[in-house]
């Protein structure tokens, strides 16, 4: 256990305050840990995953004697210590043994305690460097794509999905720059029935040319979350009154967005018989009893309908 620190200056206090629990959380910081032995494959896998996760990543480049699934070891205590020390809430541990070659363990933390763990074996791997295409900008948010019914029905696939979302895309954001959407993390499963050999095929496709890395993974050991801890972790903040009025938390009635990205809904002023006043205020709004509000410059930004939008890629200039 770390000693509780009392900040001695304003900078230290700000740093400590940044670690306090927040209502809307920051992205999870992931620590990439090397086990007692990691082969070349795992080193490359972890390097590529770190490249995608940057800047919210911490690399433990030295070997660590850590066996998270071994209850007799002190690994859980180590993980909790590291989580506390680095303010990290996710771990990716690489460890290769004769029995379980190229094992990658995802560990998710809650309140500096281990929530759940999932181990996958990397069966084949193509690194980013092997695919000679342009790469995404570090720090840009990926799109996530999961394709298989198993991600809904099979509890461990569901856990893998939740884990991957938490690793790459877990934080809640209010808005996103549409021009900054650059790459996709796509995960699919093999068609084989899960009872025999569950094989999660995870591949990354940025645009028409895949950017890599691409991994074939097999599910191995796992630890389900402790129900008590999970219940605490799934608590959601109470919505503020202003947010509810804005329409969050429940369905907004009679409001829709048209293809230009404008909000359209009934105009209360017209309904109240104040039609002239409303018209004077927003000239150009077409239709009776409906008000169109321009939300932003969506019009000047190309055709959203074109399929090539998906293949947008920032050119390096």
């Amino acid at each position: 256990m770390l000693r509780s620190i009392k900040p001695k200056n304003a900078r230290a206090k700000r740093a400590l305050d940044a670690r306090l629990p927040k209502e809307v959380e920051d992205p999870r910081t992931a620590v990439f840990v090397r086990g007692t032995h990691t082969g070349q494959v795992l080193n490359d896998v972890m390097r590529d995953l770190m490249a995608l996760k940057r800047p919210h990543v911490i690399s433990f480049s030295k070997k660590n004697d850590i066996h998270p699934f071994d209850a007799a070891s002190t690994s859980t205590a180590s993980l909790e210590f590291w989580a506390n020390k680095n303010d990290a809430s996710m771990f990716v541990i690489g460890q290769t043994t004769k029995k379980r070659p190229n094992g990658l363990t995802f560990v998710r933390m809650f309140d500096n305690r281990v929530l759940d763990m999932l181990e996958v074996g990397v069966e084949s791997f193509v690194s980013m460097a092997d695919i000679k295409t342009a790469k995404s900008t570090p720090g840009h948010k990926p799109l996530m794509h999961f394709a298989s019914d198993l991600f809904d029905t099979h509890p461990r696939f569901a856990q893998l999905k939740s884990m991957l979302i938490a690793l790459f895309n877990g934080e809640v954001i209010e808005s996103i720059c549409l021009a900054g959407l650059e790459y996709v993390i796509s995960s699919t499963s093999a068609p084989t029935p899960p009872a025999s050999s569950p094989l999660a095929q995870k591949s990354r496709a940025s645009s028409s040319p895949p950017m890599g890395p691409s991994l074939d993974m097999r599910l191995r050991r796992h630890t389900p979350p402790d129900p008590e801890l999970l219940k605490l972790a799934m608590k959601t903040p109470k919505l503020k009154k202003a947010d509810i009025e804005k329409g969050l938390g429940k369905k907004r009635k009679n409001i829709e967005t048209d293809e230009m990205g404008d909000l359209r809904g009934p105009d209360s002023r017209r309904q109240a018989g104040l039609g002239q006043a409303a018209d004077a205020q927003d000239e150009g709004a077409q239709g009776r009893g409906w008000c169109s509000r321009r939300a932003g410059g969506a019009g000047g930004w190309g055709e959203p309908d074109e399929p090539s939008q998906k293949k947008r890629r920032r050119q390096s200039t």
Binding site: E25, M90, F146, A147, S148, A233, G296, A298, P307
Partner: protein, 317 residues
């Protein structure tokens, strides 16, 4: 002119933007996430894996991009910002929800009285200098009097000084007033912190203080006392040996200081016995009668109760 050929050839270049599948794709725009819950087609999987994955990813991303571009947007320097909805996929948090801060004494009072909180700017407009200045801190407005080069001395300056032999220093008076305000604020802050801790913690601290006092109350400063197991050594305790012969003036001063301390209200070493004509402690009586809510609340409840009873009486008649 027949353009149908051109349209057809143009359409053939692009794939459809609407994705039709057996199970419709689940899009969670808040997390930039799309889930394709159709089972994997074994035939296309085994025929050409790379093409199969690309096709799956293309379909998923297309539907996600379509829904993202349909979101309301906001103008920004870097292009349109899509306003994302609240995510529907529940993910465990990495830290527990922040605990609400216990209200201060003022906040409780303001809530009871319905006083709205007004946020005060850190900066204040200075009419003379025609610029914004800090309310406090570096070059703060609260230090204006003590820092200006000339200050008016009030006519009753000698009375203010209570016939002391030093000259009236308006800077010192202003500074003392400011320091007193700071000290009062600090005292209130500490009291709020103690109240927030709860009565149990306050009692603990009190016991610790009493213990520390008793431990140094023997002639040998507790040097020969029995120690409990795990008892910590009191720090900063030193026996100060007074000289055996002291000047009479010193002794007199020490005694006078002690007496004045007992008299002063600040330390409350000894309480005034209640005087004869004031047998009833009014404050205590009000507190008892109003069950600790104060005289105003007592008056209000008394008035309310009378009105209510009268009303009911009329109704029955």
């Amino acid at each position: 002119m027949d353009v149908s050929g051109i349209i057809a050839s143009n359409a053939a270049k692009y794939q459809a933007i609407t994705v039709e599948k057996e199970t419709p794709l689940e899009v969670d725009a808040g997390l930039l996430l799309v889930t394709d819950l159709n089972s994997i087609d074994e035939e296309s999987y085994s025929a050409n894996l790379e093409d199969h994955l690309q096709a799956l990813a293309r379909d998923g991303v297309q539907s996600l991009i379509t829904s993202l571009f349909a979101l309301p947007t906001q103008r920004s320097e870097d292009g349109p910002l899509a306003q994302l909805p609240v995510p529907t996929t529940a993910l465990p948090r990495s830290k527990p929800l922040p605990k609400p801060k216990p209200p201060t004494k003022w906040e409780k009072f303001a809530a009871a009285k319905g006083i709205q909180h007004k946020k005060r700017d850190k900066r204040e407009w200075d009419e003379e200098r025609q610029e914004w200045v800090n309310r406090w801190g570096r070059d703060g407005k609260n230090k204006q009097v003590e820092e200006q080069w000339i200050t008016e001395v009030p006519a009753n300056a000698d009375i203010l000084l209570r016939h002391s032999d030093v000259d009236f220093d308006p800077r010192k008076v202003a500074r003392d007033e400011r320091k007193a305000r700071v000290a009062k604020n600090e005292k209130q802050r500490l009291a709020n912190a103690a109240r927030a801790q709860g009565p149990r913690e306050a009692r603990k601290q009190e016991i610790d203080q009493t213990l520390a006092t008793t431990r140094i109350s023997t002639a040998s400063m507790g040097k020969f006392d029995k120690k409990l197991e795990g008892e910590k050594k009191a720090r900063g305790v030193k026996r100060k040996f007074e000289p055996t012969e002291r000047p009479l003036e010193d002794e007199k001063n020490a005694s006078l200081a002690l007496i004045s301390r007992m008299d002063s209200d600040a330390k409350k070493t000894r309480r005034e016995p209640p005087t004869e004509e004031n047998v009833l402690n009014v404050r205590k009586a009000v507190r008892f009668a109003s069950k600790g809510r104060g005289g105003v609340a007592l008056g209000r409840s008394a008035a309310g109760a009378r009105g209510g009873r009268g009303g009911r009486g009329r109704g029955k008649r």
